[in-house]
């Protein structure tokens, strides 16, 4: 009887251990694949991996937005470098020239970015910390 009890408990502990290790492994593995890095237009010039999904943050350059029935084109700048963005999707309310923006998507090359999502900000005066850092204290 005693032997059976110990055996059961050992089995139980082993089960917990295996499931914990498995879940940690799964989480970390999945994290590696699904992380999206944030870059400024300047950082893109030095980026090595070009085919991963990234986020680009900066200011929408004045007089750079143009729109047709399929897409919106604009330029993101950090006042040192800039990048052309094409986007076909829903545009958030606070997207306008001279304002901060974060776009998510894929690079076509170092100068062209195809965005799949433009992130909404919630407040006129508020600037995402990433953008603030990307453009310096301008």
């Amino acid at each position: 009887m005693y032997g059976k009890k110990v055996k059961l408990r050992f089995l139980f502990l082993a089960l917990i251990l295996v499931s914990v290790i498995l879940s940690v492994f799964l989480i970390l593995q999945s994290l590696k694949d699904n992380v999206v890095y944030f870059q400024s237009p300047t950082e893109i010039k030095f980026l090595i991996e070009l085919d991963k999904k990234i986020r680009i943050g900066g200011m929408v350059k004045e007089q750079s937005i143009s729109i047709n029935s399929n897409e919106v084109n604009f330029i993101i700048t950090d006042f040192k470098n800039e990048i052309n963005v094409t986007y076909s999707g829903a545009v958030p309310n606070l997207f306008s020239e001279g304002k901060g923006v974060v776009a998510e998507g894929f690079l076509k090359d170092r100068n062209y970015f195809s965005a799949t999502k433009i992130l909404a900000k919630h407040d006129e005066n508020y600037m995402p910390p990433e953008v603030k850092e990307a453009i310096g204290d301008k």
Binding site: I27, S30, L31, N34, Y37, S88, A90, N93, P129, E130
Partner: protein, 626 residues
């Protein structure tokens, strides 16, 4: 002006009563008589003064008293009265005052509702709770005083962020706070119970009510926030795995785990240490939520101001509470001799334990996904974000076994059980798989994956449906909550499989065709409201079935602060939502529109309400027959 002064001094008085209360409580501790009457008086006075303080802040908002800095920052004379009032807690200072209000209310309720409990346990709970209350008093008074005086007095305020001017968002914070703060009572009381070695069936019966109260409020509060995000932010979804959403989900997960463990404790002395850990964790996650959301680390609509002093204060406070609680836990939590954690494998207890494993797994996924970007930002300069695919990949596959266990577990008896009604379970299972296969055959490419998932949900759905109508109502609250959960999963899954979306840029008078849907942009109309100008778009949409509906999304241009918001127009029916949001890009003649057909949206909200209703019914139903 006067209201301002009254509010401020009431707060200080409230803090003084806290200290007095602590002194009286400590003196009273070794006294064998009943609890000193002064405790009731002081606790009531403390609550009253916080109420007075809160009311005077509301009054300042109603009167647009701009000598008050909080009012100046968050209000405007042209704002409708309703939003002047809701603006009281739509900002950092006011919302903390609300926290304090609920804290003092709950501790007073605890005091008068716990007269059946041992005296020392009650006193210790009050003491722990007063430590939290004092912490919040100091936090409000030192770093976020809602009654700061401004001179010279400005003529006009800065206004409330327009996207917060919304009826649902007016009640979302108070309800969520009732849930968060309810967990503080559970925290204090389980610490008190540990020190008094009072974790027993009697304690379980008593604390279960508080667990249910905070669970119901937390569930409802999260749902309200989600409904708001659905129609106001115009992203056309209800959950985005945004850090701010995740943070409210984490205490919900631990609280749900706790709720199930308490059920075990009601029957037999088991899992005692685990229950204490869950109680501590729930409150810590609530506090961390407040910390992360308020400190400006996460960027969201909840971030009101980035004052580092506030973040540091909460951080220190948090660490004090964590060390205090863990210290108490390790000092007093002796391995209870009565406690036996040896469960027979086929029993309700085991399945509740399985529920807890799943909850902890979901929790760690959400926790890592939320915290890892912050962590990486602190230790390096890398800035990353973790998107929905991460959560979907890790959570969705585990839902299938979770649902099966959930259907199976409640059928078992406590302590030791046999499998009963094997035949009906097998029949239900076959029906679920067959039904799912027939439904999904033509609509999805990922047949195997979704068949497994959805048939598990249908299985839970049918077993609970049977219990609801066929079997006698022995535990109707549980059946309703679990039934609600199966409905929730079904609604969410079918919603995600069947949703369709059209995004395009369109001019007034133009037509846009996609598949068999035709969108006609008829005209726009301008109107003026008290504090905003509105542009209404008139759209005629002809769907695949040939029916035409009219949708009128709006663009609102608020005067103070000048912000454009878009109000989606949503036609809701039992089967599907039709959602249309429009936006103006660069004052050009092109409007950016997003049209979505989202099946079963209404059922997502209904199912969450059912889940909460289950909790509510368990709260009001008569105590179990001994």
């Amino acid at each position: 002006m006067l209201a301002n002064q009254i509010g401020y001094y009431s707060l200080i008085l409230g803090l003084l009563f806290s200290f007095l209360l602590c002194v009286v409580l400590i003196k009273d501790f070794n006294n064998n008589k009943r609890i000193n009457w002064n405790v009731f008086t002081l606790s009531f006075l403390q609550f009253t003064f916080v109420v007075v303080s809160f009311l005077s802040l509301i009054l300042s908002f109603i009167n647009s008293d701009f000598s008050n800095e909080t009012v100046f920052n968050n209000s405007h004379t042209t704002k409708p009265l309703f939003y002047k009032i809701s603006g009281t807690w739509g900002n950092h200072e006011g919302s903390l005052l609300l926290w304090l209000l609920v804290l003092t209310l709950f501790i007073f309720l605890f005091l008068i509702k716990s007269s059946q409990q041992p005296k020392k346990y009650r006193i210790l709970t009050l003491l722990f709770q007063q430590i939290i209350i004092i912490g919040f008093f100091l936090f409000v008074l030192m770093t976020s005083n809602p009654f700061n005086y401004l001179f010279p007095i400005p003529k006009e305020g800065l206004g409330l962020n327009p996207i917060l001017q919304d009826p649902i968002l007016a009640i979302h914070p108070p309800i969520l706070y009732l849930g968060y703060v309810g967990s503080s009572i559970i925290f204090s009381s389980s610490l008190a119970a540990v020190t008094q070695n009072y974790i027993s069936k009697k304690w379980a019966l008593h604390i279960k009510k508080w667990v249910l109260v905070s669970w119901v409020f937390l569930s409802t509060g999260i749902m309200l926030g989600s409904i708001w995000a659905y129609y106001e932010l115009g992203w056309g979804g209800f959950w985005f795995w945004d850090p701010v959403e995740n943070i409210s989900l984490m205490p919900w997960l631990t609280l749900t785990a706790l709720l199930h463990c308490i059920l075990v404790l009601e029957r037999r002395i088991a899992l005692t240490s685990w229950i204490v850990i869950l109680s501590i964790a729930t409150f810590m996650f609530s506090m961390c939520g407040t910390f992360l959301v308020r400190s400006g680390i996460l960027n969201s609509v909840h971030t009101f101001a980035n004052d580092p002093a506030r973040g540091i204060f909460i951080l220190i406070f948090l660490f004090v509470l964590i060390f205090l609680s863990l210290g108490i836990f390790f000092l007093f939590d002796k391995e209870n001799n009565k406690s036996s954690n040896n469960f027979f494998w086929l029993s309700k207890e085991t399945f509740i334990l399985v529920n807890n494993w799943f909850m902890m797994y979901f929790l760690s996924v959400v926790l890592i996904g939320t915290v890892y970007p912050i962590f990486l930002d602190v230790i390096s300069t890398e800035k990353i974000s973790v998107g929905p695919p991460f959560y979907h990949k890790l959570i969705i596959p585990f839902l299938a076994p979770f649902l099966l266990f959930m259907a199976f577990g409640p059928k078992l008896k406590w302590i030791k059980s046999k499998i009963e009604n094997k035949n009906s379970l097998i029949i239900f299972f076959i029906i679920s798989v067959a039904l799912t296969f027939v439904i999904l055959k033509n609509i999805t490419t990922d047949l195997l994956f979704y068949t497994i998932l959805i048939s598990a949900a249908f299985f839970l759905f049918f077993t609970n449906l049977k219990e609801l109508f066929v079997e006698k109502f022995n535990n109707i609250s549980r059946v309703i909550a679990h039934f609600g959960f199966s409905l929730f999963i079904l609604a969410v899954l079918f919603n995600s499989i069947l949703s369709s979306e059209i995004i395009t840029n369109i001019k007034v008078g133009e037509k846009y065709n996609y598949n068999e849907t035709e969108i006609l942009f008829e005209k726009i109309e301008e109107k003026k409201e008290s504090n905003y100008k509105v542009i209404i778009g008139y759209f005629k949409i002809t769907g695949e079935n040939g029916k035409t509906i009219q949708l009128k999304p709006e663009l609102r241009i608020y005067n103070q602060p000048i912000i454009i918001t878009s109000e989606a127009d949503i036609k809701t029916t039992l089967l599907e939502d039709k959602f249309l949001a429009m936006n103006l890009v660069k004052n050009d003649e092109y409007f950016n529109i997003r049209y979505q057909v989202k099946p079963f949206m209404l059922w997502i909200w209904i199912s969450v309400l059912l889940i909460s209703l289950g909790g509510l019914m368990s709260l009001v139903k008569k105590k179990y027959a001994k």
